[in-house]
């Protein structure tokens, strides 16, 4: 696989809709006209945001129909406090703005041979499922969507989904004291079901723990986390092959610092799950702060590898094979 971000796609913002007080919905069209690259439900794109101080590259799930490639649609939740990316999308981007995006990558695909799909969404975690629902409507495989939000006004797409999927979607609102019965659902699924969860970290953890307790094998459990890179102490890293030192600010990820120094490091998900940015640690005095879900416990303990998209270090010296 080549580095997918090597060439980006230039798009224009064709429409912006404020769907909830915190969520904005963006429609991108290709600057050169024509069609955008094909994708499957569950894919994300990295949006490159050139702010005044620094460049942000944030992943957002594509939520438009994979069958309609004249536009891409994403939703951006304004995170408070924002590291900068979501604030940029909410404050700086206007209809007509031009942006760069990377080619779509799918790290959260539907299992093609599943006998049933069980989709569990929490809050903004609905976005990858919006595109997958388009794909699922074209199949004869049973599916169910359970979508939980804090209140009806926080549920960005509840009404839309309720209309499109009256039989197959159930909405839950914390404000009505209605919650997804995760254990009840997972204990009654027919053989060959795959469960997919996207939402807050606590929801993902509950689903993974319940699934394991009920005997679900890992191969049938799929999740996508969309948490931003954790902040931490500032530190220095020396990039051995490039021969330069980079300073990582507290609110900056190691990957962002490497990119700011002009070094083209590999990445795909920017969320610590795909493993693509795995980098060898050549020397370390201090400790690594692993925030990824990719390296095994042994690999993390060995201190020989790091995932720069989310992980950091508390160290006097860190030398990377970059």
């Amino acid at each position: 696989m080549s580095q997918s971000h090597a060439d980006t796609i230039r798009v224009r913002v064709a429409a912006i809709e404020q769907v909830t007080p915190q969520i904005r919905h963006f429609t991108f069209v290709p600057l050169d006209g024509g069609e955008l690259p094909a994708f499957s439900g569950g894919s994300h794109v990295i949006v490159v945001m050139r702010g005044a101080q620094r460049v942000y590259r944030n992943p957002y799930s594509l939520m438009s129909s994979p069958q309609e490639l004249d536009n891409y649609q994403i939703s951006v939740l304004r995170v408070d406090p924002s590291r900068g990316g979501s604030a940029f999308m909410h404050e700086q981007v206007r209809v007509g703005s031009e942006l760069e995006i990377a080619h779509p990558v799918n790290l959260f695909p539907l299992e093609k041979l599943a006998r049933k799909h069980l989709l569990l969404a929490g809050g903004i975690g609905i976005t990858p499922f919006m595109a997958q629902l388009h794909d699922l409507r074209l199949t004869h495989v049973p599916y169910e969507l359970h979508y939980a939000t804090r209140s009806p006004s926080h549920g960005a797409y509840g009404e839309l989904i309720g209309r499109a999927e009256p039989q197959r979607a159930r909405l839950y609102h914390d404000s009505d004291n209605r919650f997804i019965d995760i254990e009840g659902l997972l204990s009654q699924q027919p053989l060959g079901t795959h469960v997919y969860v996207c939402g807050p970290a606590g929801m993902i953890t509950r689903v993974l723990e319940s699934a394991r307790a009920l005997g679900w094998p890992d191969s049938h459990v799929h999740y996508e986390k969309f948490s931003p890179p954790p902040t931490g102490e500032a530190f220095e890293a020396y990039l051995e092959r490039s021969g330069i030192s980079v300073h990582v600010n507290p609110d900056q990820s190691l990957l962002e610092a490497i990119e700011a120094a002009g070094v083209d490091a590999p990445y795909l998900c920017r969320g610590g799950v795909c493993g693509f940015c795995r980098t060898d640690v050549v020397a370390l005095e201090g400790e690594l702060v692993h925030n990824d879900h990719f390296l095994s416990a042994d690999e993390k303990a060995s201190g020989k590898a790091i995932m720069p998209c989310v992980s950091r270090a508390r160290c006097r010296k860190l030398v990377l094979n970059l």
Partner: protein
């Protein structure tokens, strides 16, 4: 012609209970009872409560393995279903899989040509490698698929076999999970009548 060292040849391992599973379904044929009895013993020792969620489907072979159904029953298994032939077992297992829930594990033991048919059901229900365990025992005789006329030949013990279509086939290690059979390819297509010595190799 490459006939061995082909990666599609299934790999088997001695059965061990998967304590992460919630329902334990076991399928055996003839001599396959021995590993299943051992497996049930290990499961009962590790997790006695799991015995209530065990079921087995078993094709008896009273001449070769007398008393094996009784031995299975004596393990304390919750339900044992016995059959005189594979066909009945496979139909009953398929019906049970339709009712089965996620959290199930499938354990299979017996000759490979039987296990291949069970694995085909497992694939149909989208069971993955982490849900199915299989231990080979008994005859290594193969089901061979003639790639020319597409007929199936059962119980092949030799490296070269004659198909009903009249062709002589070399039996490859190339295995099809969909067909539950090894591929048989005409052995003398380029030099008619020139055939290697026929030997019994799958015993």
């Amino acid at each position: 012609m490459l006939i061995t060292g082909i990666r599609s040849k299934p790999v088997y391992a001695p059965l061990q209970p998967d304590l992460g599973g919630r329902y334990h379904y076991m399928v055996g044929h003839g001599v396959g009872a021995t590993p299943l009895v051992r497996l049930l013993g290990e499961l009962r020792q590790a997790l006695p409560a799991a015995m209530a969620r065990t079921r087995a489907w078993y094709v008896t072979d009273p001449a070769a393995t007398p008393g094996s159904a009784e031995a299975l029953k004596a393990t304390g298994i919750a339900e044992l279903r016995t059959f005189g032939a594979s066909d009945g077992l496979l139909a009953d297992l398929t019906a049970a899989m339709r009712q089965a829930l996620m959290g199930s594990r499938l354990y299979v033991a017996g000759p490979e040509s039987f296990m291949g048919l069970v694995m085909r059901i497992a694939d149909e229900f989208n069971l993955k490698k982490d849900e199915v365990r299989a231990e080979e025992c008994g005859t290594l005789a193969r089901r061979v698929h003639c790639i020319h006329c597409r007929a199936s030949i059962e119980n092949v013990r030799t490296n070269i076999v004659e198909c009903a279509c009249g062709r002589w086939l070399v039996v490859r290690d190339h295995y099809s999970r969909r067909l539950a059979a090894y591929m048989g390819v005409m052995v003398d297509a380029e030099a008619p009548g020139e055939r290697p010595e026929i030997k019994e190799v799958f015993l």
